[in-house]
């Protein structure tokens, strides 16, 4: 995926990355619409600055940064509108297309993971990032990224055992 800032190219790049990027942003956003706004902003910034699309770590770092800003504002808004926030909690939109009960259990187990483990897992499994790219996006070492991934899988396995 060469980064030449033409209409055709960004569409090709984005259509490949979009589902994973939106899923990544969903970790901090309550709804798909919010996650899409975050991804839109990050991608537009990334593309306008003509960053190399091969540098995916930078793109995910941009998504994460914008998502965290969004989360801070969203939390402030939630505090102001506490009743409205409790209603939205009950109507959280799904992040995956669930086909059976085992997948539902897996998604439930994913929700139980600590954020730092889940974000590494999402980047690795659904975005195919290398540990080097994950490390660059999260500003951690590759060893830390790899160990967070292993802990996430171990925790998932443990949480799925009783089912």
């Amino acid at each position: 995926m060469e980064n030449v800032a033409t209409d055709e190219n960004w569409k090709t790049c984005f259509s490949q990355l979009a589902p994973g990027l939106v899923l990544f942003a969903r970790q901090w956003a309550r709804s798909s619409a919010d996650a899409e706004d975050i991804v839109q902003e990050a991608f537009v910034r990334f593309w306008r600055k003509q960053h190399d699309i091969a540098n995916r770590g930078l793109l995910y770092a941009a998504v994460r940064s914008i998502a965290l800003d969004f989360l801070r504002r969203d939390n402030r808004r939630a505090r102001r509108e506490s009743t409205a926030a409790s209603e939205t909690d009950q109507t959280v939109q799904p992040m995956f297309e669930i086909e059976d009960e085992s997948q539902r259990a897996l998604v439930a187990a994913l929700d139980l993971l600590p954020n730092e483990q889940r974000e590494v897992l999402v980047m690795k499994i659904w975005n195919d990032l290398t540990f080097a790219e994950i490390a660059s996006a999260l500003e951690i070492s590759q060893n830390t990224a790899a160990s967070r991934y292993r802990y996430a899988l171990a925790n998932l396995k443990k949480n799925l055992l009783p089912v």
């Binding site: 960004w10 589902p19 899409e36 995956f96 997948q103």
Partner: protein, 178 residues
């Protein structure tokens, strides 16, 4: 890592929800706006994301704040200079060798009196045992780094003066036998 291959397979079978169809259109519009209407975008600072997304940060010089800040800094410098110079000018040189004359109200305002001494030891290093000259008893040499702060205060005006400097001290502590 092999232990986790089964769970990795299960995870890969989970399909993330597809983004909405209009996301691509929105990005296309945003990129087009960015390219063609850069100047317009700069003028009104609007975004196409319903205000959800952060605006770009540009460097703006706020001349009013800068001017006020500089004026305040200049006033502070003048005030400090005035306060520091007054004792030198007003205190008579003979005061040290002749009985102090009766203080006028102006000389009182220019007087700074010692208000305190603070000595903070921020690092101590034990440099081990040593045998100083003419001593058979071993001594422990301890090197400590301190910061001393001397303060003066004018009781009339409330102005204060502070001098702070680092210092290093080496002390020899006799070692008691056991």
């Amino acid at each position: 890592m092999n232990d986790f291959s089964e769970i990795e397979d299960k995870l890969r079978k989970l399909r993330p929800v597809q983004p909405s169809a209009d996301l691509m259109t929105r990005i296309e519009r945003a990129l087009a706006e960015a390219r063609s209407g850069e100047s317009l975008h700069r003028e009104n600072g609007s975004t196409s994301t319903a205000g959800v997304l952060p605006r770009e940060h540009r460097f703006h010089v706020n001349w009013l704040s800068l001017g006020l800040g500089l004026a305040a800094a200049a006033a502070l410098v003048l005030f400090a200079r005035f306060q520091l110079e007054r004792p030198v000018k007003k205190t008579p040189a003979l005061a040290a060798i002749t009985p102090a004359p009766a203080f006028s109200s102006t000389s009182l305002t220019a007087q700074f009196v010692p208000a305190g001494l603070t000595q903070v030891v921020y690092h101590t290093r034990d440099e081990g045992l040593h045998f100083p000259n003419n001593s058979e008893q071993p001594m422990r040499r301890v090197r400590s780094h301190t910061r001393e702060t001397l303060r003066w205060r004018n009781p009339i005006t409330g102005a204060s003066l502070r001098i702070s400097y680092p210092s290093e001290e080496v002390s020899l502590v006799p070692v008691t036998g056991q």
